[in-house]
Structures are given as structure tokens and as C-alpha cells.
Amino acid sequence: MKKLMLGNEAVARGLYEAGCSFVSSYPGTPSTEITEYAAKYNEIYAEWAPNEKVALETAFGACLAGKRSFCGMKHVGVNVAADPLFTVAYTGVNAGLIIGVADDPGMHSSQNEQDSRHYAIASKIPMLEPSDSAESIAFVKEAFEISEKFDTPIFIKMCTRVAHSQSVIEESERLEIAQKEYVKNGEKYIMMPGNAKKRHPIVEQRTLDLIAYAETAWFNRTEEGSDNTVGIITSSTSYQYVKEVFGDKYPVLKLGMINPLPINKIKDFAKTVKNVIVVEELDGIIETHCKNIGVNVAGKEIFGNIGEFSQNLVAEKLGGEAPKGVALSENIPMRPPVMCAGCPHRGLFYTLKKNKLTVMGDIGCYTLGAVAPLTAIDSTICMGASVSSIHGFNKANDGATDKNTVAVIGDSTFMHSGVTGLINIAYNGSNSTVIILDNSITGMTGHQQNPTTGYNLKGDPASKIDLEALCRSVGINSVRVVDPYNLSECDTVIKEELQKEEPSVIISRRPCALLKYVKHAGPIKVNTDKCIGCKSCMRIGCPAISVIDGKVKIDNTLCTGCGVCSQMCKFDVFENVKEA
């Protein structure tokens, strides 16, 4: 039966059908749903690891044990997993091992636009790249076959438009795969120099074998066209844009495997057309390969290497006709994402701004503390960077910034890679203040459990990290907990901890307002007679508050009754908030 299925769900379906039984991942948009959907199959053990490095090493262990395994992450997650990545390329696998990575061209939800295909080339690991949901299922099944046949881990590369689009699929039965026996084999699995030197030539030969395979494999296919003046080489979502614009006009070489790329197949295709154009998002990976093998192509000089493509862009760049719409001439205000009404981060960030602190930021919902009116963040780099960089900042300033600088990091991000930075603060002794924003969930990616929440991916109770004890155990003596709904408490504790001549951790603790188990007090009541329209309450940037005709107005569909606004008001406009 035909069904509409999200690309990421289709990857999970492919895992199920291919007999995969082990998944370890770290969430990250646009990859998260692969693992969430995989966890719905009873036949698949699935877990959230604390970070991508742990996830990949865990999945490797499972493949070594003889089970088909998967590890999922977003593009920047591969940076974290890169250490094991380059070496599991040498060891190869026992049962099949897939690394799922989702790129984010256009940066809908990411801090950079890196192209994961470079990792496949650099680590000498094959990479398949589906262009819709049906291919996502088929390519995952194929990937396990390649992984086991060629003794290699393999990438499945998604991008936002494939991961987050639903298209039509048909389901098949699950392949029942017996667990492979693990046989001790030091030469293959112990990568110390003597063994690794023997493995490297095997890896190089494997790439040659894979190129030979890529020449005739079904997923690299040529589609005939009626006009041979142009031939287009493309893959992934770019293929869809090309077909949308040109239909069957130009011949197309649609590449399903992006590493390694075929040689003769490309040369043969180029011979049948007058001009070859490569259409690929981000960097010129296919283009560079074509040029390296002596095939003259155009690509990045036409399309550039920034942002997402679309059908209109492909049409405009290749001389087709793009439709045009009519826009309003006036300026339409932007609608940027904001912290939700009732978000526990709001009160904390207001306190940081009020005290004019320098704030080392991190990756999560709380990155929104950077936007107006809070504008309370100075830097955001990657997961964990807040805790490490405050140490460098304070050390370099020789104590001059200790009393007006903090680092902020979420609970999940702290578990991911913040704790190592905290160890450095304690060990190398900087007088730094780190604030852990503990909202009891991984928020930005849509509520995933993590080691601080007490539950695992399947929703079962799990060991719960004691953040206070963890911070003390690495050598932080001053650990305090505040309620971010209480502005005066936040203000007092932050001031006190900044003044101390030792490193401190402040845990700002309130569960995410969107969590189902969180009970809200209900919309706050206002006495507009008392309101003078001073807009003090607007300084916290709550989407539920507006001032209309000089009087405050609460949006009752949004307001949770957190009461932070009432602490901003000097005129008792907001009625006392009851604890829920």
C-alpha cells in the first residue's frame, strides 16, 4: 500500500526492513526523527548517546558484536564523531554499520553550512545520497549490503529537504538477519601502528573496488533526454529541481553514491552530450571529481556554493523560465523565532542583560537569548564552547573579566561536551562562573531525553545524573541552584557567585514550559486601570505581552502564568500568580 512518509521516517523504515537491530545517536536538526522513528520498532534497540562520538563508538561496538547497526547525527555532529570515524574506516565492520548524517543547506537550524561529503572523501568511507523517501528506504537497505560486502562503514547523507519532506513509499517485510559471530582479530580491530600500516593499503584497494562497483550500480543512473546540447550531472534534492524545470529535455546522470564517484560512467555520459553541467548544493564535490578525471564541466561558476537551491534558481541559472510573483511594496516585519511564553530561560537572560555581563553562549533554545530585546549573548560557536571559551577569556584577561563574565549552557549540551570544559576550569584554575540552564530536556530539537532527565529514548526510567554532585566531583566547590522564574533570587545569586574568588556553577532549574507534565498557573490577570503604559514588562521579550493603546494586554492563548512579567512591574498591574 502506498503511504506518504517523511524522509527521516523512511530512513528508519529502511533500517527496520534491512534487519538493523541497534541504533545509537545524538539528536540534531534535521536528523533527529530518524532515531525517534527507529525507536518505535520493537525489533530495534535504540538509544540517545550523550554525544556523537559516543554514539558512533557505541554503534561500532554493536556492529562488532555482529548486529546491523546505525548511528545518526546532524552535519556538525560528524565533527564530534570524526575521531572514531577516520579509524573505523580502517578497521571495517563485522555486521553492517551505517552513519546517517543530515546536512542543512540554507542553515534553517544550524550554525554553519558545512558539506558532509568532504568527510566521506577524507575518511575514505562510501556515501549514499537519497533524493526522496522511497530512495531513503532503498538506499539504507543497499548501504548495509555494501557495508558488509566491502567491509566498511558507510554514510547515508540526508539534507533538510529530503529529511523533512514526505513523499510516497511502499513498505516491505523486515529481513530477518542472524547475529554474526564475533571473532577476535587483532590485526583488523586493534589500530596501533603495526596493524594500521597493514590496514591502510586495504582501505585504498577498497576504494578502487568501490569505484568499479559504482560504474554499474543501479543507484547511479542515466536518464535519456531529447536535447543533447546539455547534459546534467546531479544528486539528492538538486536532482528533483533539475527534473522539475527540464523534465525529460536534457539527459541526466543521477548519482546515488557520492563517494567514491564513478569514472567511466561520467566519461561515457559526457561523450553523449555537448556541454556538461553539474548541479549540486554547497561545495563542488562532483565538479572537482569530473575535472580531476579530465571531464570538462561547469558548476560552481554558475551556481555558487552558498545556500539552498530551488526550481526557480535552477531555471534562472540555466536559461529556463522562472515564474514571478507579485510582492507587496511595503516592508513586512520579520517574524524571528523567540523563546516561548513561560520559557524558563527568559528570566535568567533578563538578569544577565540587566547586569551587563559578558556571556559566552552555546547551542540550544537559549541561543535565542541573543536576539532583541534580551541581546544577552556575546558568542556562540558549537556545543560545549561556552564553558571552554570562558576559561580562555578569563585567563587571557588575567582576572580582569572574572567578575562580569559568565558561560551559559543547557543540560543536554553540558552532558554532550560541556563537562570536559568544566574539568578544565577546575584543573587549570580560572575564576569562571558557569550557568547550567537545566530545563530537564533537550529542547530545541523537540524534546529528547538525555542523561539528566531520568528517562531513556524509549521513555523508560533511567539513571539520572546528579548535576550538583557531578560539578562538585570535578572540583567546583561552589554549586548553587536558582529558580529562573524568581528574578531577585537569580540576581542575588549571580552577583554573589561572580564576586567569589573561585570557580562557580549556578544551575538555573525549571522544566521546559512545553513539557506535557508541566502544569501551568494559567494566564495572568491584569488590572489595566493601574497600567501607565511604561512598557517595563516588555523588556523580557515575552510573546504573550503587548501594549495596545497605552495599556498592557496578555494573549491568553500563549500566557502560562509564569509571573516573570509581574516582577518587572512597579504598579501592581499583574495580579499575584498562584503556584500551579
Binding site: D132, Q240, A327, L328, P373
Partner: protein, 190 residues
């Protein structure tokens, strides 16, 4: 059949995803090739959100580009104004007249534009603006705006009421079924 394009635009949290799920279901059941595309993550959290629904004999691109939409269904007035450029010549736009202030307006950095309905109509757009929020409230829950709007959109399709009701049954939890059916009919008759 040439591919047809429906865009659903609104503010993160307004329930645009349920609307696209419903559309995807009914279009697939009619034998079309269908693609539905959405963006998760940072673009939620009260930001501007857009979902693309495309159907026809064979659909390639998952997204809809400027000047391509046959229908735009907007959950909010400013979002209707923002995305009107995506409408094709002769396309139809349905919008809820509700206004949700974005943060730059809330903090006073800019004003919410006035008379958007008239300005959009002045572009020559076939605009059908109505108060879907009140109808959703009348049906029993302000969150049913999405189904009210789908009811309105259903007038442009020759699918039967029964087919729409089946798609609703498959898309919403049983306890909200009656509410949503009522909301759908209120939108369809509005």
C-alpha cells in the same frame, strides 16, 4: 496533470502541520503523486512557518517557489502579506484575519502594517479573508483554526464531504474528532 501547489503559512505553534497532513492524506487517496515539505527546529518557536503541499501525476521538487502557488492558505494576516509573492497569476489566497504580533512589533522596533487585506487585493489577488479564529472558538477550541481553514479550502476541490471527513478521522485523535468535524463544516460554510 500538471503539478498543483498549495502553501500553508502561519506562525510556529498554530497547527500548520496538521493541515498539511490532512491534505496529503486526501490527495494520496485520490491517486495523486504527493510531496509535503516542512521545516522543523529553529523555524518553530513562534517564527514564520511554511509548509508546501504538491500533487499531480509526478511530483519532483518538494518545495514551492515564487509565483508558483495555486493556493496559499494563511493562518495570520502578516504571513499572508509575507508569502503573497509565492502565489501564481490567477492563484487563490485564503487567510485568517487574525493578527499575531511578531517580536520586532512587540518591542516597538516597527509597526504591524495596516490595511493588509486591501493592499493584497490591490495586487489583483483573489483573496478570501475571514475570521477563522472566531469560528474555531465557536466549534469549541481556538486551536481548530487549521481545520476551519481546511474547510474553506475544501470548497475549491471537488472531493466529497465524506472523503474529507475520512481524512480528518485519520488525522486527528478520536477525542477531538467531533470538534474538528464541526470546525471543518463551519469553515466550509463561511
Amino acid at each position: 496533470m500538471q503539478t498543483k501547489n498549495i502553501m500553508i503559512v502561519g506562525v510556529g505553534g498554530q497547527g500548520t502541520l496538521l493541515a498539511s497532513k490532512l491534505l496529503g492524506r486526501i490527495l494520496l487517496s485520490k491517486g495523486y503523486d504527493v510531496k509535503v515539505s516542512e521545516v522543523h527546529g529553529m523555524s518553530q518557536r513562534g517564527g514564520s512557518v511554511v509548509t508546501y503541499v504538491r500533487y499531480g501525476d509526478k511530483v519532483y521538487s518538494p518545495v514551492i517557489d515564487k509565483g508558483e502557488a495555486d493556493y496559499i492558505v494563511s493562518f495570520e494576516m502578516l504571513e499572508a502579506a509575507r508569502w503573497v509573492e509565492y502565489l501564481k497569476q490567477g492563484g487563490k489566497m485564503i487567510t485568517n484575519t487574525q493578527q499575531v504580533n511578531p517580536m520586532p512589533v512587540i518591542i516597538g522596533a516597527c509597526e504591524y502594517p495596516t490595511e493588509l487585506e486591501a493592499k493584497i487585493k490591490n495586487l489583483g489577488v483573489d483573496l478570501n479573508a475571514f475570521d477563522a479564529l472566531s469560528l474555531a472558538e465557536a466549534a469549541g477550541n481556538s486551536k481548530a483554526v487549521n481545520i476551519v481553514l481546511m474547510g474553506k479550502l475544501s470548497k475549491y476541490f471537488d472531493f466529497t464531504i465524506e472523503e474529507w471527513m475520512t481524512a480528518i478521522e485519520q488525522s486527528v485523535p478520536p477525542k477531538f474528532l467531533e470538534l474538528n468535524k464541526k470546525a471543518f463544516l463551519l469553515g466550509r460554510e463561511a
